[in-house]
């Protein structure tokens, strides 16, 4: 008999366990890592202005767009898929929004054009993955090239300025009192993502699909619809991120978002979402994104040059993931 009856829990454990909802320590690794890095920087970089309000707000602002995309990527990876096309979809959406605004003068048409890019790309990605059964890794790798190429083609690789103040204020440029608009976008995205993943039927079905697609299907989950939906949402959110770049930089350009997919995936995995699907943490992804921003910021303040920053950043990510995976 492979009777692996779990040992009875020690006295007092059940109540604590139910309070923690059965989460094991590994899922806290990101918060511990974040706190440790923050403290180190606070101690060693205090004289360089690390702890100043402006600097901390800057970290939030600089990571906001990555954080927004990381929320959608948490769903994608939880469903055991991947989306490599988000960075170039953001670029294409920024370009299309800018072109629509310069052609019509209307912020609304700009937003619609940007969202349309996300919807179209998302439906293509989702259809190829769900109905043709192609691996999302390959589909979105191809889409990365297509979207980036398209964005260059329709703009002849030139930036398209956006002169619409309303658009620029809503997407990333403006503030609400002392709070940067980008911070609000982050908070809204994280809040919606957390509720949907943890408190709705859709979220549970995403996790079940990623955990064991066959068992989910045998239990009545429409795993194709789930997969299609997460791919679609990922692209739409990438398009919104592209418009955030466009608003903040007051222009659309194919380069906005280039390479973001790697930061976003790193943030999600750092946050404790399983690369194999079945488990995901939206709050973790936010902190993963913030941790990356924190490291970037600290390394710049410490005076490392770009090549040194890249090496140290890579090492820190490896250590963090190794710690998070340790049983």
């Amino acid at each position: 008999m492979t009777q692996t009856l779990a040992p009875p829990p020690p006295a007092g454990a059940p109540s604590r366990e139910s309070r923690l909802r059965g989460i094991d320590w590994r899922s806290y690794a990101i918060y511990i890592g974040f706190a440790v890095v923050f403290l180190l920087f606070a101690i060693f970089l205090a004289d360089d202005g690390f702890l100043s309000g402006t600097n901390l707000l800057n970290i939030f602002r600089q990571t906001a767009i990555i954080s927004v995309m990381a929320v959608a990527m948490t769903f994608v990876i939880s469903a055991a898929q991947i989306d490599l096309s988000i960075g170039s979809v953001a670029g294409l959406a920024s370009v299309c929004a800018a072109l629509a605004i310069s052609a019509t003068g209307s912020a609304l048409f700009g937003v619609l054009a940007g969202l349309a890019v996300g919807l179209v790309v998302g439906m293509v990605n989702g259809s190829l993955v769900t109905f043709l059964g192609m691996p999302s890794f390959l589909v979105t790798l191809a889409m990365l090239g297509i979207a980036s190429g398209l964005a260059q083609l329709i703009t002849k690789s030139a930036p398209i300025p956006i002169l619409n103040d309303a658009f620029n204020a809503i997407f990333g440029g403006g503030n609400l009192g002392p709070i940067p608009g980008l911070l609000l976008w982050t908070v809204v995205a994280v809040a919606i993502g957390w509720v949907v993943l943890n408190k709705t039927r859709f979220g549970r079905q995403v996790l079940a699909t990623g955990g064991n697609r066959v068992a989910a299907e045998y239990t009545g989950v429409n795993t194709r619809r789930i997969t299609f939906t997460v791919m679609l949402v990922s692209s739409v959110v990438a398009a919104i991120a592209g418009m955030l770049y466009a608003g903040r930089l007051e222009s659309g350009r194919y380069q906005w978002g280039t390479g973001d997919e790697l930061s976003v995936i790193a943030a999600v995995i750092l946050g404790g979402t399983s690369l194999f699907g079945g488990a995901g943490s939206v709050i973790g992804a936010l902190f993963g994104s913030l941790l990356i921003g924190l490291i970037n910021n600290g390394l710049i303040l410490a005076g490392f040059d770009n090549s040194q920053q890249q090496i140290i950043r890579g090492l820190i990510i490896i250590v963090a993931v190794a710690l998070a995976r340790k049983k």
Partner: protein
């Protein structure tokens, strides 16, 4: 060795036993974990029976009868594998499930049968004879190329498992680890997955009601666990199987199909599962049991359909089957 023969064929097992014999002769000590009694008698000198984390029996195998060992494993005398004749289901009403001339690409060829409320139908046959394939058609995993499935006399229109579930059909699949459970998810989440549609309060899931529902299902099937919030993979095979059965009982299905429900399950749990199947039928459900273990099939079925090469070769009333041997002959296609 921990259940070394679980995925071996008969010949491979023989080779393994020979190897064990040689190792023993060389003076190698072997701890052999198994739930198969015949293997224990074949190769073991001494046996220790473990239950609920403690040793309950340790003695020379030669000094023990199989009944003594089983009693030690279960903790009480078992007679679950004895057939209990149940009152015959009323056959004059419309059958709950009717399959007409079902044919499909997965090998099922021209199968027809009826199943009434309160009836337990056994499907006997070798692996690949079409038992599992038939279950997949009824549950909507595979689609038939021709033929009909009727529920309560109406065409069921089962295009996928979601429709089958909505119409009151449930399948406890052959491979619980692959098809039945999300192993890394908690027992609770696994139990609630088919119940999510009914757990909404507004757009959100009512977690408190979910916890209560899960607790009741765990209680009902007496699933042994440390906490419902811990991953289902930490449970024993028998308790995992109970989770798969429990998640469907939560939906109160009218037709329950169980494919090898006691494979890799300890004897105590096996008798509990058989008892549950009987209770379900007694309460008016229709049950289909697929099993390679003939003793179990004979213990639980009211009627046994024998399959070979994707089609039915016999439709036997349980009362007309004398013993395992005669059923085995029917499965092999040898006429006595």
């Amino acid at each position: 060795m921990d259940e070394p023969t679980a995925s071996l064929t008969k010949t491979e097992s023989e080779a393994l036993f020979e190897l064990i014999g040689r190792l023993k002769a060389q003076g190698v000590g072997i701890v052999y974990v198994s739930h198969r009694m015949e293997e224990v008698y074949r190769i073991c000198d001494r046996i220790s029976v473990l239950r609920d984390g403690g040793v309950v029996l340790s003695d020379a195998v030669a000094d023990l009868s199989p009944e003594q060992i089983v009693a030690a494993i279960v903790g009480r005398e078992v007679d679950a594998l004895e057939w209990v004749e149940r009152p015959a289901a009323t056959k004059d009403t419309t059958p709950l499930l009717e399959v007409r001339n079902l044919t499909a690409a997965n090998g099922v060829t021209d199968m027809s049968f009826t199943l009434h409320a309160g009836e337990i139908l056994g499907l006997a046959g070798l692996m690949g004879s079409g038992r599992t394939e038939l279950a997949k058609l009824i549950f909507g995993i595979d689609r038939p190329t021709s033929g009909e499935i009727l529920l309560r006399g109406e065409p069921a229109g089962i295009a996928n498992p979601r429709i089958a579930i909505a119409k009151g059909i449930a399948l406890v699949p052959e491979d619980r680890r692959l098809q039945g459970l999300v192993l890394d998810h908690s027992v609770r989440d696994n139990l609630l997955l088919p119940l999510l549609p009914g757990l909404n309060r507004g757009p959100l899931i009512d977690d408190r009601r979910g916890d209560g529902l899960a607790a009741r299902l765990i209680e009902r099937l007496q699933i042994k666990l440390a906490s419902a919030k811990r991953p289902v993979r930490l449970l024993s095979g028998g308790n995992q199987q109970k989770v798969v059965i429990a998640k469907w009982l939560g939906r109160d299905p009218d037709v329950l199909i169980l494919d090898e429900p006691t494979a890799g399950v300890d004897i105590g749990t096996k008798s509990e599962i058989i008892q549950r199947i009987r209770e379900l039928a007694d309460s008016g459900k229709a049950v289909i049991v697929i099993s390679s273990e003939l003793a179990e099939l004979l213990a639980v079925s009211d009627r046994v359909l024998v399959l070979r090469n994707g089609t039915f070769t016999d439709d036997l009333d349980r009362r007309d089957i004398d013993d395992e041997e005669s059923l085995q002959l029917a499965i092999q296609g040898v006429r006595s």
